[in-house]
């Protein structure tokens, strides 16, 4: 991928939380709250992940697809851009952008297999049409940096080589895609936050290493807090609540 995050469009496109946590007017009219909005995005991140497992693409493609989806909803309403179409289309586009192309008909096949619900049923032509709209919504910026690369480098640098630490921090990074962190923070700081949480959880003292890094530990701690808050609230999320959010979306304004 691109060599330098700091010169990338990804860096230039980082947003403030207030810019990300915006419910588009059309969705607001239907009574959708910020909470509903976040729930649906999380649910769609899971959807992308499930689809990706079936069509067998790398984690990186999933991460890029989720990022696209989240970027789209900083600009577009869910009323106009149905999440159940946007999600698979983002995977379709991300697979192209990450050089592991997936055929549209294969996606359609697995969508049908995974969801019997009519609302998920979309055909190839719907995906192709939505692909164009997503490209526009993304303003054709397709390069995304992820915390994974920094994670491996940082773990190595910290001299961490026990598998449980590596696996835990890797899993934490995966989970950050259930939130909007990737739109807000530089990837290496997200990676650091995940290492930080993992080290606390596994009771590994790497404070000395953290202190030698020339990063603002306050930012890292804030990201860590956000992640922990998310885990806290995640326990309270039920299918029921997700269904309610989707049913609001289905309302005619």
């Amino acid at each position: 991928m691109a060599a330098n995050f700091w010169t990338s469009s990804h860096y230039k496109q980082l947003l403030d939380p207030e810019e990300v946590d915006v419910v588009q007017p059309l969705d607001k009219d239907k009574g959708m709250t910020l909470e509903d909005f976040k729930l649906i995005k999380m649910n769609m991140a899971n959807y992308i992940w499930k689809l990706a497992q079936n069509v067998k693409v790398r984690q990186r493609v999933v991460a890029t697809a989720v990022t696209y989806m989240r970027r789209v909803y900083t600009r577009k309403s869910m009323s106009e851009y149905d999440p159940r179409l946007v999600a698979p289309t983002c995977l379709y586009l991300a697979a192209k952008a990450e050089e592991s192309t997936v055929q549209a008909r294969l996606l359609v096949f697995y969508i049908k297999k995974l969801y019997s619900d009519e609302k998920y049923r979309y055909e190839i032509k719907d995906i192709l049409e939505m692909e164009m709209k997503i490209l526009e919504a993304l303003n054709y910026y397709l390069v995304v940096f992820h915390p994974y690369r920094s994670l491996s480098q940082l773990l190595q640098d910290a001299g961490i080589n026990d598998t449980s630490m590596i696996q835990l921090s890797w899993g934490l990074v995966n989970d950050t895609y259930k939130m909007d962190l990737i739109l807000i923070h530089p990837p290496h700081l997200i990676a650091l936050a995940c290492i930080y949480i993992a080290s606390v959880y596994r009771e590994k003292d790497i404070t000395a290493w953290f202190e030698e890094l020339r990063v603002d530990m306050n930012v890292v701690k804030n990201i860590s807090m956000e992640i922990l808050d998310f885990y806290e609230s995640h326990r309270l999320i039920t299918d029921e609540r997700i269904n309610i959010a989707f049913s609001k979306l289905a309302l005619k304004p």
Partner: protein, 515 residues
């Protein structure tokens, strides 16, 4: 973040919402190319009057949506910002022809097509070089080469392989700036070269031996081979490896650069198709011999670019440090270069076609039109040495050169025969253009013009029916086609400027330079 603000505001000012403007903001003026995925037009932005190039991405017949080649190109161009890399200004859409019952567009505004909007460039290198009577000066060649290497170095530092470096993809504006274009085959790479990449890239004549031998792990060195081919072409006056298929391409390379073996290229025998293409007879490297008339530093640099073993081939960065760019005559300032009337390969081809038509008419009227087609090698100092002046005085010098079958020395027979000959291309696309295996029968080309059909050179007049014209016949080897050097070696030792001790004939037996 504060940094996002300017870009977004700019975009919002220009368009009502997020999303692309319509192609109707532009007025198409003229087609200037034919590309992998559609035509290229010169156009004027109506609001500002600015001239741009519109590259159409055709969307019909696309079963897999937005073409991945376009995705690659957009992704890469969005992240490259350099004065020697073409600038993608924006992407616009055109409302398709589809209408619903009420005659309104059916809402799918993408059927009509997507256009990439580029800054307009007046020429491409091939189009410019092929202008009748065109001669580049040495400082001019150095200037173009340095810009090419600077742009390519920037790509390589940003881990992008261009994978289709050739003259028609090097655009030149009237300020003398050269920019890399057509990133439709480009790819990001990682430094470890571990990923398997396709070897069906780069237009045949510029494709390096490792790809022809089937390697799938490669890096920036592939682009450097193409640069070497272009460099030699600029000095030599015509393409140096005009193969018509892969085996012939390799053979041409081996004839000049010698056959690869474990000594000059450790590991070569493990490359997939090495055994299929291993030459049956020993072949020595003859590069220095064939191009002995080149300037010493030019030849030295060329040697290092056209090195068979990619791991020993010079990098763009090291090439920029080569003596060649730091000895007199120095590369000139781009702005000092002459301005030319717009020329793209697509257009020069068309013009040549018209010229041919004109010639034929003239012939019928029993008129002779002496003309200068094809390329002429560089002049030593700009503004000096008109081609016609290069007979006579130089003759003895050149006679002293040992006649080499493949060298440019076999042009003696026609002291003043009109230079040129067939030009590079068959007169029409119907004469069997080379189908690039990777591009669905289309090559790149500046903003995307067609590939060189290699057959273009072989039968000098293709199918134009001009066989009887008095323009010199074809021969073989590096001198295919009509004499491109009207008289003598390209650096005809007319003595001016740097003095003959630096140039041409009287150095031609000195092979002892360090590499």
């Amino acid at each position: 973040m504060a940094l996002t603000a300017p870009g977004q505001q700019l975009n919002l000012n220009e368009s009502p919402s997020w999303g692309s403007r319509s192609v109707d903001c532009f007025e198409k003026l003229e087609q200037i190319g034919e590309g992998t995925y559609g035509q290229v037009y010169m156009a004027r932005e109506i609001r500002t009057g600015e001239i741009v190039a519109l590259k159409k991405i055709r969307m019909d017949n696309e079963r897999e949506g937005f073409p991945i080649t376009a995705i690659r190109e957009i992704k890469i161009l969005k992240k490259l910002h350099h004065e020697n890399v073409i600038k993608l200004k924006e992407i616009v859409t055109s409302p398709g022809p589809e209408k619903d019952e009420q005659g309104r567009p059916d809402g799918n505004k993408y059927k009509g097509g997507i256009y990439m909007v580029f800054e307009y460039m007046d020429h491409d290198l091939t189009g410019l070089a092929d202008r009748p009577g065109m001669r580049f000066s040495v400082p001019q060649i150095k200037c173009y080469m340095r810009q090419l290497l600077t742009g390519l170095h920037y790509c390589h530092v940003n881990q992008v392989l261009h994978r289709d470096i050739k003259g028609s993809n090097l655009l030149i504006d009237n300020e003398g700036n050269l920019k890399l274009a057509d990133f439709g085959l480009a790819r990001s790479f990682s430094n470890d070269h571990n990923a398997n990449l396709t070897n069906r890239v780069i237009t045949l004549w510029y494709r390096p031996p490792e790809l022809l031998l089937g390697t799938t792990k490669y890096g920036p060195a592939v682009d450097m081979w193409s640069v070497g081919c272009i460099f030699a072409e600029l000095l030599h006056g015509k393409p140096i490896f005009p193969g018509k298929d892969e085996p012939e391409q390799l053979n041409k390379i081996f004839e000049l650069c010698g056959a690869p073996d474990e000594v000059n290229w450790p590991g070569v025998s493990k490359i997939p198709w090495y055994n299929n293409f291993k030459p049956t007879r020993p072949m020595k490297r003859r590069l220095r011999e064939v191009f002995r008339h080149f300037d010493r530093h030019a030849l030295e640099l060329l040697e290092r670019m056209l090195t068979l073993d990619p791991s020993q081939r010079i990098s763009a960065k090291d090439a920029l440090d080569a003596e060649y760019f730091w000895t007199d005559p120095l590369p000139c300032d781009p702005k000092s270069l002459p301005k030319y009337e717009s020329s793209h390969e697509f257009q020069t081809k068309k013009k040549r076609q018209q010229q041919r038509q004109h010639d034929e008419n003239a012939k019928r009227q029993k008129l002779q039109h002496p003309q200068q087609h094809g390329r002429i090698p560089p002049i030593q100092q700009s503004g000096q040495a008109h081609p016609q002046m290069r007979s006579g005085p130089n003759q003895p010098m050149h006679n002293s050169q040992p006649p080499v079958a493949t060298g440019p020395s076999h042009h003696y027979g026609k002291p003043r025969g009109p230079a040129g000959g067939p030009g590079r291309y068959p007169p029409s696309g119907t004469s069997g253009g080379y189908n690039h295996p990777n591009r669905g029968g289309q090559g790149g080309g500046g903003y995307g013009s067609g590939p060189y059909p290699p057959q273009g050179r072989a039968p000098p007049y293709g199918s134009s029916g001009m066989t009887g014209a008095p323009r010199g016949g074809g021969s073989s080897g590096y001198g295919v086609g009509a004499p491109n050097y009207p008289q003598g070696a390209p650096y005809g030792s007319s003595g001016a400027g740097r003095g003959s001790n630096m140039m041409g004939g009287n150095r031609n037996q000195q092979y002892g330079w360090q590499q």
